[in-house]
Amino acid sequence: MTIIFERIKTAIGPEMAGPGLAFVAVVLVFGIASPQFLSAATFGSVAFQLPELGLLTLAMLLPILTGGLNLAITFTANLAGLTLAWVLKANGGADAGFDIFLVGSLLAVMVGAASGIVMGLVIAFTRAHPILVSLSMMIFLRGLGEFLTRGGDISGFPAFVGVIGHGSVAGIPVPLIVFVVCVLAWHLLLGRTKLGFNTYMIGSNLDATRYSGINTRKAIVLVYTLSGIMCAIAGIIMLARFNSVRIGHGESYLLITVLACFLGGVNPFGGFGRVIPVFVALVVLQLLSSGLNLVGANQHLATAVWGILLVGVMILRWVVSRIKISIVRRGS
């Protein structure tokens, strides 16, 4: 019995406690407060809103695990979206074919990757602080994007782009499918690949990892490149959802992605954290905002409640660690 319990505990991981509890609490509170909460409509709205923030959070997750941060995620996503928008505009605009979309998406991914590669190279080779490198990359990309678009938006895409943003396959929204595939990919990457393994090790101690024969520079460059690619995917989904591209779109998600990672039990110094708890944390955040919507509050209140939730979970972790210490002290 205890063995099974141990197995479950190691499979889920200690990170799950915070978001798991929050999930139960949110479902209970809003389920009681509003009869419409536990309905298909709520889950539909969550399903459509989750992917954008979710994809950006995945992009943030890898750098945090290495002990860094990528503050350029939102503008990398914008620039990737811009790339796709241009390719579509230059090849017939509303009449562009699906093949053009694919080519544009590929270019968008390459733009995202390029932003990641530059940051990765600077961080890996100069060992400058990732917050600074990505912050200056963010300022640069924002400037570049605003320069290219003159602050306006680009729209007028073929009809199928809207389907990607709003359509469903077998009742499941397309963006959600994309997101879930990405979550699984990240789960596999972190749990089962050498790069994932190295990501955790670098997050805990870069030098010791290098002494163990790991190519830490390559790993860091790859981590930021993958982060950039994930931003590009988020940028494409954002383009499809809004049927337009605008620099600064999704800017407010930036710090929310960091919040979601911390809520999901990711260690702010790196080395520890899993994808699934972060996924649950994201669901909790969206449920919260949908629930608050139902009881008549707006997104701004939801943002504040997200902040309060993170503080609450951190205080809870503190309380638990205090209890653990006192148990050890009592010597049981």
């Binding site: 190691t10 596999l188 749990g191 089962r192 690949t193 050498k194 994932g196 393994f197 955790y200 090790m201 805990s204 101690n205 030098d207 010791a208 990892t209 290098r210 002494y211 163990s212 024969g213 790991i214 190519n215 080395g271 520890f272 050890v328 002290r329 009592r330 010597g331």
Partner: protein
């Protein structure tokens, strides 16, 4: 504890009456008894050594004396004729008890003067900083030690030896009467150590009592007048240093007798695994030529700063030699990185287990497989099952005592951590294993176990380079001993033909 007794000290400083005397010290953490009815006393102006293995209660005792911990009921602490049931950190400092922690607790970004005069000038209630007074205090304290440093430079501009001196100077500012030094020589070179011991002697001559904690027993015997030995939280005894030997102290510390014998045996018939010719990296090592045969253990000894670690890093592909050649199994190699060295069969166990050897917060299992990930791949992905079985096998092979494979490696003792570190490298199927100071931070009792593993590995055909600054370690465990000084190999010894004292005399000369 009244303030009126503050001025009794002068009369109390006679040699027969102890400065500090502890009786009935018991200390419990949870169910664990860290100190069992310990007594301890220090006479004014003496150099007293506190000896014992890791976890014997040395640092707990220091923390009781300095007021960090509060001992159980019944404790009696007498200091300068005053009796206390426990100390507080403020009382201890006010009464002239100072500790120089192993990590020094200094502030590298701040100036030397600020570091030395921190407590005097920067502590206490908020006020303006008196930079003039601060500088004077710092210069005076350094002058007492016979040292001159630029007190306005940030401390980070100075090397570890000078930082040690700054820490001592800081302890002296507070009118110290009793100074604890926790492993002060751990990262000093021999000449720096000599200078430090000189300072300790002059402190003692000026009436300051020094309690010295060091794992270097030679030093302990040289500097101290009395030795208190602790084992498993209990007092073993107090002994005069005169007439003590290193092996006797070791016996008292561990409660075991070690019959150390020379393990060297001829390996000349075996093929050469590593052949180094004229390897040079100016300023670090020069004109190094050596061979290591299959199953042979070559010991490299020499003082800190002799270039041993740099040579090892060059063999491991992490430093590029400027000239000379390295051949493995007769083929010349040039490593662009340590990955190439590992692929060629070289493994390097770092001297710095805490920050370079192992990834302390991460699981035991992950630390063990990190260098041989390709072995646990299955279909291109890491296999949890393969990892578990690989780890289980090595844990059993090397007799590592662990709770759970997923526990952080930092939960293990030094000896067990080192076994995992060795297993990590053995898992890469090396031909040559370089062990750089493998017993640092490992209990005396557990060291023998590490060397048994080394002997078994050599027996199975592994070529081993054993680096240590403790001459007896290489003397007893290597087939050949090379002496490095100032980046060069200056002597070669065969333990079967040379006496230990002969090599020690050469190394410590």
């Amino acid at each position: 504890m009244g303030l009126d007794s503050m001025h009794q000290s002068a009369s109390a400083a006679s040699t027969d009456k102890p400065l500090l005397s502890l009786r009935n010290i018991n200390m419990n953490f949870g169910g664990v008894k860290a100190l069992k009815n310990v007594s301890f006393d220090v006479r004014p102006g003496e150099v007293h050594c506190l000896a014992g293995e890791n976890g014997c209660g040395k640092s707990t005792l220091i923390k009781v004396i300095t007021g960090v911990y509060r001992p159980a009921e019944g404790a009696v602490i007498e200091y300068e004729g005053e009796t206390y049931s426990h100390m507080s950190p403020v009382t201890a400092q006010d009464r002239g008890i100072q500790v120089i922690w192993q990590d020094l607790a200094l502030f590298p970004e701040m100036t030397v003067a600020e570091n030395i005069a921190f407590h005097e000038v920067l502590g206490g209630w908020p006020r303006l900083v008196d930079y003039g007074r601060m500088r004077r205090i710092a210069v005076d304290a350094l002058a007492r030690l016979g040292v001159t440093l630029d007190v306005d430079l940030p401390l980070k501009e100075y090397a570890i030896a000078q930082r040690q001196i700054v820490a001592i100077a800081r302890a002296l500012v507070g009118e110290a009467k009793l100074v604890f030094m926790d492993e002060p020589t751990a990262s000093l070179t021999q000449s720096e150590t000599d200078h430090l011991l000189e300072i300790v002697r002059s402190l003692s001559a000026s009436g300051v009592a020094v309690v010295f904690v060091s794992h270097r027993l030679a030093e302990v015997l040289e500097i101290s007048s009395r030795i208190t030995v602790l084992r498993d939280g209990a007092l073993v005894g107090v002994y005069p240093a005169a007439g003590m030997t290193q092996s006797k102290i070791t016996e008292l510390m561990t409660g075991k007798t070690f019959d150390q014998h020379v393990r060297a045996r001829p390996r000349d018939d075996q093929p050469v695994v590593l052949d180094v010719r004229g390897l040079t990296r100016p300023g670090q090592f020069e004109d190094i030529s050596l061979t290591v045969r299959r199953g042979e253990t070559v010991g490299i000894t020499g003082l800190l700063g002799a270039g041993r670690t740099e040579l090892a890093l060059a063999l491991f592909g992490m430093l590029k030699p400027v000239s000379g050649t390295i051949s493995i199994d007769g083929r010349e190699v040039r490593f662009g990185s340590n990955r190439e060295a590992i692929a060629a069969g070289v493994a390097y166990l770092s001297e710095d287990r805490l920050s370079l050897g192992l990834i302390q917060p991460q699981p035991i299992a992950d630390n063990l497989v990190i260098a041989s990930l390709r072995k646990i791949l299955s279909g291109g992905l890491l296999s949890e099952d393969r990892k578990r079985s690989l780890v289980s096998r090595w844990i059993a092979d090397l007799g590592v005592k662990i709770g759970h494979q997923a526990d952080a490696i930092s939960t293990l003792s030094g000896g067990n951590q080192q076994r995992v570190a060795i297993a990590k490298w053995l898992a890469t199927d090396p031909k040559l294993l370089i062990l750089d100071s493998p017993t640092v931070g490992v209990d005396v009792g557990a060291r023998a176990g590490i060397f048994d593993i080394v002997a078994k590995l050599a027996e199975s055909g592994l070529a081993i380079i054993l680096i240590s600054d403790e001459v007896p370690e290489v003397y007893f465990n290597a087939d050949r001993v090379l002496h490095m000084a100032q980046g060069r190999i200056v002597g070669t010894y065969d333990p079967r033909q040379s006496r230990l004292e002969e090599i020690e005399a050469a190394v410590y000369a």
